[in-house]
Assembly symmetry: C2
Homo-oligomer: 451 residues x 2
Amino acid sequence: MRTEEKVFFCIEKYQMIPKNSHVIVGLSGGADSVCLLKLLKEYKKQQEFQLYAVHVNHHIRGEEAVRDEEFSKAVCKKLEVPFTVFHYDVPQIAKEEKLSLEEAGRNVRREAFEKVMKNIKVSGRKMIALAHHENDNAETVLHNLMRGSGAAGLGGIRPVSGEKDSYIRPLLFVKRAEIEKYLKGQGISWVTDSTNEETEYTRNKIRHQIIPVMEEINPQAVSCIGRAAENMWKIEEYLQEQTDILYRKYVKKTGDTFCIAKECFSEKEIMQSYLIMRVLEQASKGKKNITATHIEAVRRLFKGRTGASVSLAWGLTANQVYGDVHIQSRKEEENGIYTLEWETFPYEKQQIPEKTYTKWFDYDKIRNSLSVRHRLQGDYLVVNQEGGRKKLKDYLIDCKIPRQERDKLTLLTDGSHILWVVGYRISEHYKVTSQTKQILKVQVKGVEENE
Amino acid sequence: MRTEEKVFFCIEKYQMIPKNSHVIVGLSGGADSVCLLKLLKEYKKQQEFQLYAVHVNHHIRGEEAVRDEEFSKAVCKKLEVPFTVFHYDVPQIAKEEKLSLEEAGRNVRREAFEKVMKNIKVSGRKMIALAHHENDNAETVLHNLMRGSGAAGLGGIRPVSGEKDSYIRPLLFVKRAEIEKYLKGQGISWVTDSTNEETEYTRNKIRHQIIPVMEEINPQAVSCIGRAAENMWKIEEYLQEQTDILYRKYVKKTGDTFCIAKECFSEKEIMQSYLIMRVLEQASKGKKNITATHIEAVRRLFKGRTGASVSLAWGLTANQVYGDVHIQSRKEEENGIYTLEWETFPYEKQQIPEKTYTKWFDYDKIRNSLSVRHRLQGDYLVVNQEGGRKKLKDYLIDCKIPRQERDKLTLLTDGSHILWVVGYRISEHYKVTSQTKQILKVQVKGVEENE
């Protein structure tokens, strides 16, 4: 099939562009988005819809950014597509909001898309067309496979996604090489987006070391992976629908407690897992990082005796109650943050207790107001008596705390200065010394000390 | 977990070795099978079962084969496991049966296992323990992924398989490196099986070029792929069970006709595909190579009008009948082989018709008896007037006929010499010339010529 036919087939198969809708292309000026714009312009010959292009100037590389903006504008002029440009000082925003350039860039692009959508006042569905292609998809699938993902991850990039299905990806079944070939054939040029060449370590290895070997084995490997992925996300959709049915059949919610009826144990193991996953998602209010270990722990409760219980992440506990399993949040640990109780009293050279969940601090050293929260960019501790600072992130890495756990830690903070990483160390700065006058005693509520 | 614990956990999780059963290990003398034998011997300390070892001497490499046999015997003596050896002249068998050494080897091993099983006259289940490990599994999954497999293929190697679940793979969650480490730790040696080092091109590339890069990205990549695979085959099992339910609900068989009720069109697309796949498997009597294209062709019939029909492989046709889809075999094309009709008559310099499905041959050139069959190893054609031979396989590759199609072609043959690849060319050797006396006219029954 020619590239055009392939893309139009994909648009129609997934009903991406209904009649009288509005399609906004995010145009970087790179091959992928230029190709997408050109093909959508062609598609207008056979379907009535409005096409728009949005370029975001990130102000990351001065001259290059100007070149890309000018180029994108020229492309739109030539193709007669309404063009809007947004300017964001991404390096500044990243600095202010303590984000990586990549994250900040993603945020401003999303903002720009939303502004454009809002400005379209006429009726009709509004979609954002993204230029992900078959190679992006194969890379995503492989990345997920080597992390041990389930069907959801092996499904790769979806052709249509987002709330109200507002993200569409018409190039998803076109290879990277085909995109460039198409543009050359059409005599259309593009700019080389240098941000694209700086992609991260993992994706680079997959792109340059794994995919080429796979293509030596099977020249169609990338398309085959795409086909396998399409099959997988269809399976995942079906399993989610089956889970809806099981949820209505076996799960009752009373207050904050989710009760899973013991009869669910007669379902296939895989569907028990999907059901438990769903309940944990609901109970943890959409928290991520629910792992196979959590699910297996809950599943094992069905075989346990009444009263058996496990403590899960996000402040959830699961209990076996006469065969059923009840999952509820421990009130005091809303958001996975421990509740801390404190008191102050004068320091009279008492023995300082060495406990994990009770700590004493020098009250007078506190500069701002105290708060209890998860970690933020810029957090630090003082790690020696000389006042040496260490970034919280580096400390957590030193402690070998897995990335997914780091975001769940409860911190007692004084601005960006961390008094206490609950469960771990306190900052040297606030330690009680012979000069201390007033003690701040902080204790985790409801946690028993093992002494 | 230690290797032992991991293996025992796997045995118990999948209930591989029930009490009082008989377990036969295929012992090559290589690390994997020696490790398997040792660990099963250890497992006997906690479960009552009988353990046997079978070594097959393939007579492929004279001295090496003797060494491997002696080594395997010695291992069994040391571990006190009953040892049986079988001798097969595999090169000879391969030659006689026109098989590759690999295929012939697989066949004789299966035969040896079956003999041993038959000789166990006491009661209790009988199983064959195979030494596939986590790396074998990851390689299989990747191979299948880059061929575009569905959930069945992405499920990789099953821990328990075969009719009556008689193949078990206790090492499936142990890495190759761990096996060697375990044996070294136990002071047990092994022989290096040189057949193992000659594995095929694809597997070698996956093993030596892809997996190592994946392990640079994630040192646990192999185990993660294994975990993803386990999840996938559990999903596949569930989907097959759901297909059973749909089959009972929507499919009726009358004579040779399978009728799929139109109501099945209300099911999720993926389940329609699973159901159609099942019907095609039944209707084609378990033929392989049912592809997404065949399934999609049948699925589209539901949207077609009455009377719409498609011709599938294996002599099957699908028809739309008032919304339902009927699948039946065309009698004349049993096994996917066309029926050929022939006649002979004297050559009187008539015009030779140029048709695709009717061919004239020089009858007197036929050496053996004619037969109509699928392709076999050793088939060839003559491709020029100088009598130049070409392997059939190479000709089919030149014609870009996909591998899965090649096995379905109907061939008119004279021993290994192919007169006609039906639908494609005839051998130059049998072409009618000015010297021809007698014509053999062959015509495909029931196929209309487009002239």
